[in-house]
């Protein structure tokens, strides 16, 4: 009797896990944003063509059969190839879709870092004579400057 009670309790504890393991059916609204019309090459949700209608009909069949989102996508790839997925796979030439933006951003950051380093090394006001420090007036200029200043006194 005690053993039966323990088994019943165990079954109750396992019930939620079992229920969660039951595959979750998907819906058109979940699938459509993730797939393309393979002949029009636009998202299936926006496509109007006989092929797009066929694709939607096939998805409806899979959903009615009780397939999950992953199963629907996998069945679509079997029928139409990987081009049916809105996000391309991360292998082969398609990997450039993910790599190029990273490479471009990295190159821009590197270029910016290089330019900033160079800009910081450059003195803010370059000396006119290139010798550095303040410019020394010649004795004639000094005399003229003093003459001018005296005139203003």
């Amino acid at each position: 009797m005690r053993r039966a009670g323990a088994l019943g309790l165990l079954a109750l504890l396992l019930l939620p896990a079992g229920a969660a393991a039951v595959k979750q059916r998907t819906s058109m609204s979940l699938v459509l944003p993730q797939v393309m019309c393979v002949t029009c090459q636009i998202p299936l949700s926006q496509a109007q063509s006989p092929q797009a209608d066929d694709e939607r009909r096939y998805i409806r069949q899979l959903i009615d059969r009780g397939d999950t989102l992953a199963q629907v996508k996998s069945a679509l790839v079997v029928q139409y190839g990987s081009a049916v997925l809105a996000l391309p796979p991360d292998r082969g030439f398609d990997v450039t879709v993910y790599l190029v933006p990273v490479v471009v951003v990295a190159a821009l950051v590197a270029l910016l870092a290089l330019l900033l380093t160079r800009w910081r090394r450059t003195p803010r006001s370059a000396p006119a004579d290139g010798a550095g420090g303040s410019r020394q007036l010649s004795s004639a200029d000094t005399a003229r400057l003093e003459e001018d200043l005296r005139r203003y006194d």
Binding site: V38, T39, P50, Q51, D53, D54, E55, Y58, V78, Q79, Y80, G81, S82, A83, T96, V100, V103, V104, A107, A110, L111, L114, L115, R118
Partner: protein, 185 residues
């Protein structure tokens, strides 16, 4: 030295991006190399003749390539169950298949393009097609022929060279008869 690295790296990255853009653009449009060769009176080798494609039947167990039918005329027809203009030429293709079989001259070979296999099978049954059909699941085979819209027909000779091309529906029964005669010559 450091001053030169920046512009060199920038130029290299820009060149790589331009090359990638060029490759992407070139990959976008359908190739018309076969059409140009046929129009110039040449008979170019049919592409992808060894690419094994799934045979469209209920069992879906076999794969075959075009080279399997080497030695006779092959009328390669790209079609799909969703293609409304394909319907009209199916009776002509079926008559052609019977004539080719009767004369042991070759075969019509259907290639379904971006089509759900069960829908293709239903169409085969509906039209009563007796010629073999292969499935081009990802469109890579069709791409090699520059196929972007259906239906399209290619007539190959016994050496698997392209003799005639029809982009769109077969213009007339006489066009197909002439193309087959040219392929047999």
């Amino acid at each position: 030295m450091n001053r030169r690295i920046g512009p060199i790296v920038t130029a290299l990255v820009a060149a790589a991006l331009l090359a990638l853009l060029g490759y992407g653009l070139a990959k976008q449009g359908p190739s018309r190399a076969l059409d140009a060769a046929v129009e110039a009176g040449r008979q170019p080798a049919a592409p992808q003749v060894s690419q094994a494609l799934p045979v469209l039947d209920r069992l879906r167990a076999q794969r075959a390539s075009i080279s399997h039918w080497r030695g006779g005329v092959i009328v390669v027809n790209f079609w799909a169950s969703w293609c409304t203009t394909c319907d009209a030429e199916e009776p002509l293709l079926e008559r052609t298949q019977r004539a080719l079989l009767a004369g042991h001259e070759g075969t019509v070979l259907g290639i379904t393009y971006k089509d759900v296999s069960s829908y293709s099978l239903s169409a085969i049954k509906r039209y009563g097609l007796s010629f073999p059909n292969l499935r081009d699941a990802d469109g890579s085979f069709a791409a090699a022929y520059g196929t972007a819209q259906l239906p399209e027909t290619f007539v190959l000779n016994s050496r698997l060279h392209v003799v005639a091309i029809s982009r769109g529906p077969i213009p007339q029964a006489a066009w197909l008869a002439r193309a087959i005669s040219a392929a047999e010559a």
